[in-house]
Assembly symmetry: C2
Homo-oligomer: 247 residues x 2
């Protein structure tokens, strides 16, 4: 992805949704992932206060939702429609898992609008609706309980689309400066001399103590500040009189 693809190319279509609360949850799911275009085919109740409540801060998505009387109308202008289905369907096209489908749809969206079509909570999509879509998609789920809530299914797919289209960059890290190898070596030497003085380490019978310490510190990519803290601690064991307040 040379440049982040606009998420405005994607519309989410709910066909015959029964529960206004789910419409609200879907609006919120869209907005959290940066989508905004919601189409509703024959919703049982819309607008509805329950939808507003569940939408939380995403009432703008509800306010701009397009209510249609047929799936054909909701798909006007799209060049590809993906149908979400929880089961294998007769005569279906080859299916894709949600993650793979996100890549397919992101590619299609470079050439035109793309629709994600979700069916009724109980009945799913009709065969006629399914036949209007070019890509059947399944979300991986527990085969013994694959009953994903409508809002949850939309959330997962919008999340996949966000990842497939946006450059996330590195996860935010609040690293301090890392210690260099020589600073860590000096610290390990400091441990050794301090433990020798305390009698915990016997240079004539070293066993595996130093390799174990080295292995442990090797795993954690110490920061410079942490090396300084540990060396300060070691110094306090060596020279406690320097660290006690003298008042």
């Amino acid at each position: 992805m040379a440049e982040a693809l606009s998420l405005n190319r994607f519309r989410v279509v709910l066909s015959h949704p029964s529960h206004p609360g789910n419409i609200g949850a879907v609006a919120r799911a869209l907005k959290t992932m940066g989508l905004s275009r919601l189409y509703l085919v024959n919703p049982r109740s819309f607008p509805d206060p329950e939808a507003e409540t569940r939408a939380s801060g995403a009432t703008d998505v509800l306010a701009n939702a397009v209510v249609c009387s047929s799936l054909t109308e909701a798909l006007t202008g799209v060049t590809m429609a993906a149908a979400f289905t929880a089961r294998r369907r007769e005569l279906a096209l080859p299916m894709q898992w949600a993650r793979q489908a996100a890549t397919t749809l992101a590619e299609a969206a470079q050439q035109g609008d793309v629709a994600l079509v979700f069916g009724n909570e109980t009945y799913g999509l009709s065969n006629e609706e399914l036949a209007m879509c070019q890509l059947p998609v399944m979300i991986p789920a527990n085969p013994e309980y694959s009953s994903l809530n409508l809002g949850a299914a939309v959330q997962l797919m919008c999340y996949e689309l966000r990842i497939a289209t946006q450059d996330l960059g590195e996860a935010p890290a609040s690293f301090g400066d890392l210690a260099t190898v020589d600073e860590v070596e000096q610290m390990i030497g400091h441990f050794q001399s301090t433990m020798t003085a305390s009698g915990f380490f016997n240079p004539d019978n070293p066993k595996r103590l130093m390799p174990r310490l080295r292995r442990m510190f090797g795993r954690i990519r110490l920061e410079r500040d942490e090396v300084n803290i540990l060396r300060g601690m070691l110094s306090s064991f060596q020279f406690p009189e320097k660290f006690h307040k003298r008042d």
Copy 2:
């Protein structure tokens, strides 16, 4: 992943959840992805009929939920805890995106139990709670509206864990037998002869017609049955008298 890792190694911990409905949605999210172990630290109201309703068929997850009085108690026995946070935190460890974290946690789960810790809906996790976790995790979201519902956040992470630990295999496909290259070639020849007879194709001035047809059919991986349907159609154009009922 040589062998599918048991999802029983993962526990989901909700710290101070306010809304019983969210607890139910979380139970459902767990079960859809094959997880089952839910821990609740000081829930405001549990058990609660609202949780039962939103759990849909996942009431077994609620029935087996462990109620704790502190996060320490909920983390007893785990070897790694991941903290979900919507913002960058002071003094935090390096964060991982949810997808990367799923791989990290799947590896950790090979050696012991792993916890996914989610904070209160409004306040998130306290600094003390965060400090008990070894891996801060962020879910990619719209920076202008990152307000993921608690159930939605748990759903996304459980989905990532399912993908990271289970071998999904190929998406279900109900393919018929594919046509072989020679069968497709014969069909294209059939198109050419029929269109020549009808006058639509002029062999003396072929233009780009045959390459265009070939390109189109090349894109759709025809099945044998489809080739037969198309050839039957061509025959009906050539010899309509054979196809009209004679009664």
